[in-house]
Symmetry: C2
Subunit: 145 residues, 2 copies
Amino acid sequence: MRLTKHTDYAFRVLIYLASMPEDRLSTVQEIAENFDVSRSHIMKIVQKLASAGLIHSSRGQHGGIRLQQPKNAINLRSVIELMEATLTPVNCDDPVCLINKNCTLKKILHEAQRQFLEYVGRYTLADLAEPEVSIISLLSQRKRS
Amino acid sequence: MRLTKHTDYAFRVLIYLASMPEDRLSTVQEIAENFDVSRSHIMKIVQKLASAGLIHSSRGQHGGIRLQQPKNAINLRSVIELMEATLTPVNCDDPVCLINKNCTLKKILHEAQRQFLEYVGRYTLADLAEPEVSIISLLSQRKRS
DNA sequence: TTCAAAAATGCAAGTAATATGAATCAATAA
DNA sequence: TTATTGATTCATATTACTTGCATTTTTGAA
């Protein structure tokens, strides 16, 4: 009962990009170094985010990535739904549960899950950015140490 | 983002027991056969449920297991909290996230998780039992086929 | 007292999902 | 044409989950 690290990283990448000046392009390399994770790994997350239209990427020299949408248009729920492979709380079919048809439990759990997502869906990336704390400064602190 | 099968099985076991006459003792063997899962596996789930006081077990010949509490006293939330190893939506410390301290995301996700549990907590095992559909009959159907 | 049934426990291993990285390809601007 | 950067593919590591086997302990019944 935990989000995958992919989802976690996706949020971190988005927050990172959101903390940058809008016109600045970041690179996968740069993010990977700051997060201390391999380039290819971050790339996978970036790929998904890009193919979903959340971030924009451009190749070539002086290429890079940036948010494609305004911060307040990137809903947290959509990020979770994009990144998580499974979002159903139980799998009644493996192994098949004979109570299945009239199962109230399934309904309850699904509704609870729906409420989870509904709540998260009230927020956007804009709600995560805390202007008074620059992430860039935090990251540069790390480099110094 | 899914409950473990342990939790799933725990619910199935509890529903099974709840469908039995109160004075009847079921055995792990019997449940394992009906669910088509190994005895030892069901045993582990039963162990946890027993040590938490949800079901009562007695050894020896003519021993077995049964609910220890009335159906309406067994809260679904407590079952989840008992069975799930991790109930925090994200792990900000692995790898450590530098945004950590002022992270609004963490707060949002935790609150969403809280709402999930709060909702599930409104129901008890009694809400899952559907008297008009006997589980026992469903199970015997399976045996026939 | 002995025996059989049942839970309790510990050990080991299989399996699937997740997480990670290396290497290579393709595009683009200087 | 070359350096930079995203895109893609492949392989592997790791972890959590799942399962089964073997043995022990308890308890009621013969």
